[in-house]
Amino acid sequence: MRQGKNSVSSIRRTMAGADGDDSLYPIAVLIDELRNEDVQLRLNSIKKLSTIALALGVERTRTELLPFLTDTIYDEDEVLLALAEQLGNFTMLVGGPEYVHCLLPPLESLATVEETVVRDKAVESLRKISHEHSPVDLEVHFEPLVKRLASGDWFTSRTSACGLFSVCYPRVSSTVKAEIRQHFRNLCSDDTPMVRRAAASKLGEFAKVLELDYVKSDIISLFTALASDEQDSVRLLAVEACVSIATLLPQEDLETLVMPTLRQAAEDKSWRVRYMVADKFSELQKAVGPEITKNDLVPAFQNLLKDCEAEVRAAAANKVKEFCENLPEDSRETIIMTHILPCVKELVSDTNQHVKSALASVIMGLSTILGKDNTIEHLLPLFLAQLKDECPEVRLNIISNLDCVNEVIGIRQLSQSLLPAIVELAEDAKWRVRLAIIEYMPLLAGQLGVEFFDEKLNSLCMAWLVDHVYAIREAATCNLTKLVEKFGAEWAQNTIVPKVLGMANDPNYLHRMTTLFCINALSEACGQEITTKHMLPVVLKMSNDQVANVRFNVAKSLQKIGPVLDSNSLQTEVKPVLEKLAADQDIDVKYFAQEAISVLALA
């Protein structure tokens, strides 16, 4: 039966004056809606579960509400997700830590549903309430639940178990600890790849709570086994575990216990595993320390930079700067110059544009590490080559990181190549590329200085104002504001204001509107004098424009620049024009004129 809104309100009416307990009514509705056909109402009810529990009291919550919730796992994912989350904060509502174990059955059934997000949330809540269990309750209630999940029939319960070992292990007796380790071992060699993946992804976390001896004996053998699993998707997760395991072990054990597996992973037949190594390279580097980095990771990194799969090269290229930064200081420069730089040089002319653009996004960072002379001699040619790359993304990435180079050698070294690159991007056929370069303009302007800007780039900024794509015109307007903030009002008055105002007479009404948009954006930065003397007359004159869109934008502009003007010009110049527009034939013009009048308090 459907419990519609109408029947609820009719019940509410009949209840007035009845003998029943009025305060029960809203709770009764919430409880009934737990099983409403409308998922939104059920969700709403579940989200107010604490209200229901409070009304029922701790006793009935434990004996009636929780058993019902334990069996409601048929519901929609979003309802179950909300339920799993609620139960994590339910301890006080079932009677405090003494009774927290009553929350285990519903969370256990939620931890076995097939939808990953629900399971993960249930595990999260279980982890949370595990801390509210006393040591005794943990062994009597919580740990058996973990074991049940770990030996469950379906993979879903076994994957959930993987995330629970680490929270109970530190707080149980040594016999139980041994059992937990055994369960974890079993899951690492589970038949289904899903469970092995879950175990592999929790291996590092579990290792952290284990005694060092067991890390060396148990964890290492599991790690080695998972790292040579037949499934690529399991092996690649072992790489992640490698980071945490390596941090736990003393330096002298790393070589024998971890490095053979890591070397193997870096040369895995599957590119996905090598990709993972490349992606985690900085973390691995920190975990194994400087000596192993020098002897092992440097050649491994070189290989990854030369990998036959572009995805791997791109991931490694992304790490070039971080890797070099983290090299031990005493040998950093030598390693970079002799081992890394030759690979980087090759990547600059890679066949794959993703690889080149990944490199371009970090390569500039090398200049701070290598210093002025090396940058000029070795890096500068690479920057220049990338500035001329056929792929716009590569050029953009170089330009967007110019600041690193600026600090070391100054941007002038680059300016000869920079200009053609910027001009080409500014005129790129793809509007998104044009948009991206506009966004770097204020930065470039700051680094190149006002003279260079006026000479070379100003005309570009003006050309964007009449671009045929609105997004570009809008960005160009915004760009002008930032330039004025950088170079000052006087510069604005001399260079850009005349050009912007000139567009007010353009035959294209879109360009005339751009004038208004620019004035909106610039008035504040330019200040009262320029606004009153130069901009206001133009705006007022445009109130006679034959296009209604221009006229109502005049009204909007007046509203916008009003606060910058003095009260005299508001009263004598702005007010009459707005009053005229308020009597316009066009409804929109009228509307915005009236709005401006009221906002500026001119009525």
Partner: protein, 443 residues
């Protein structure tokens, strides 16, 4: 000689529009799914007595219209693939030409009872009598089987999807259309990765289309796909992200002397299946079925003629478009026998070790009589036996395109138009002689 006999049960959709378009056993064989032209999926469950009865029926796909291209998208189910059963609920992927869906089929045997504000019939209670709150309780009810769509994977194929296949990692699957193969994660619907792309820059240079693709049963990195030119390629996903370059190419050299107008048409591969062991590939072209050893690319290790007598009929078959029929093929559970369909509601089985073969007929008449399936023989020219059938009297409108073999037992499912026939080996240990099970001699 082996006495290979089967019993059967038989399901027929009453409506002739409900032509079955795909048949697939679940990994355990306990369930069997069929898809039809009307976008419906029917799931059968094996009873303890061995018979398959309807378990659930649901509408998987509906007709749609692509407004951008002004194209109608048929609801016909092209393929069904079961996920390994790793949960109490069943999961299966179904696809039409454009959209793949992940379905969950689950059972429910409890329902909540008890309202505060109304009674179980829905009548509003007298509020004045409500003095305490009631929490609903769950009570047993009749078993209800529900099918719900869990994920919809759309907008990734510009051409018609011909195959879907689930990877042994149980995390990813592939979908193939005429020119491309995409790789998906089962839980991510808004993104897929293109791994094979045969589309030439200029469509006028198009020489080959993908006809079918399948993942290796154990090795997560291997996939095979076949094409209209008669080749089957094996790709290794480990070496590169893009598999445009194959690791192996299985192709048999054609004798130039026997080349004809129809050579390319009849060599097009209509189905490819890895053996359960993962060592062999079974391919089906128009006239034959071939078994390839993954270690030998230059020629098949076994070739079986399915209906070589049609060689003289190719002209007629071309004119009636029958030459484009896509026959599927199947391995038995131990990879010792292969099966594939033919015309006249015939299907063929080949025993690999003894090289014996048999032609059987799936027909309603046989089923009505509950007789034993008798081997049929097609003869060219004069009849040698009364039961023989002449090539000229074969009915090309009756075709067995879709067949499936139970993953472990000797149970087969044969789809012929809107009829589904399930035959069972009478000597198989789980084969019971129920009241509507007949025995049929095969070999």
């Amino acid at each position: 000689s082996r006495d290979f006999a089967v019993g059967f049960n038989f399901h027929s959709h009453p409506n002739s529009a409900d032509v079955i378009s795909t048949v697939e056993f679940s990994q355990s064989g306990e369930f069997l799914a069929t898809g039809d032209k009307g976008g419906r999926v029917v799931i059968f469950q094996r009873e303890p007595q061995g018979e398959y009865n309807v378990y659930s029926t649901f509408q998987s796909h509906d007709p749609e219209f692509d407004y951008l291209k002004s194209l109608e998208i048929e609801e016909k189910i092209n393929k069904i693939r079961w996920l390994p059963q790793l949960h109490s609920a069943l999961f299966l992927l179904t696809t039409n030409d454009k959209t793949i869906k992940l379905w969950k089929v689950s059972e429910r045997d409890k329902q909540p009872e008890g309202y505060n504000l109304k009674d179980e019939e829905g009548r509003v209670k007298d509020i004045s009598k409500i003095t305490s709150l009631q929490v609903p309780v769950l009570r047993p009810m009749d078993l209800l089987v529900e099918a719900s769509p869990r994920r919809v994977f759309s907008n990734a194929h510009a051409y018609h999807i011909n195959s879907i296949s689930i990877n042994s990692d149980c995390e990813t699957y592939l979908s193939a259309d005429d020119l491309r193969i995409n790789l998906w994660n089962l839980s991510i619907t808004d993104r897929s990765f293109n791994i094979v792309d045969l589309k030439p820059d200029n469509m006028e240079d198009l020489t080959e289309v993908i006809t079918v693709a399948e993942f290796h049963p154990h090795h997560c990195h291997l996939l095979a796909f076949s094409s209209s030119t008669g080749t089957t390629r094996l790709c290794d996903m480990r070496s590169r992200a893009l598999c445009d370059q194959h690791a192996k190419l299985f192709e048999e050299a054609v004798d130039p002397a026997s080349r004809s107008f129809f050579s390319e048409l009849i060599s097009s591969v209509s189905d490819v299946k890895f053996s359960h062991s993962g060592r062999y590939l079974l391919t089906r072209d128009y006239l034959s079925a071939k078994v390839w050893d993954l270690n030998m690319e230059k020629k098949p290790v076994e070739t079986y003629q399915v209906h070589d007598y049609l060689r003289s009929k190719l002209c007629t078959l071309y004119e009636s478009d029958c030459i484009f029929d896509k026959f599927e093929c199947a391995w038995n559970g131990t990879d010792s026998v292969i099966m594939t369909g033919a015309y006249n509601n015939f299907f063929r089985m080949f025993d690999r070790a003894s090289r014996r073969d048999v032609t059987l007929e799936a027909s309603r008449e046989v089923c009505k009589r509950r007789a034993v399936l008798r081997p049929r023989r097609v003869c060219i020219g004069r009849k040698r036996r009364e039961s023989d059938i002449c090539v000229d009297s074969l009915d090309f409108r009756k075709k067995v395109l879709h067949t499936a073999w139970h993953p472990t037992d000797n149970i087969i499912a044969i789809a012929a138009r809107n009829n589904l026939y399930i035959f069972q080996d009478r000597h198989s240990p789980s084969g019971h002689h129920g009241m509507n099970v007949n025995e049929l001699d095969i070999f």
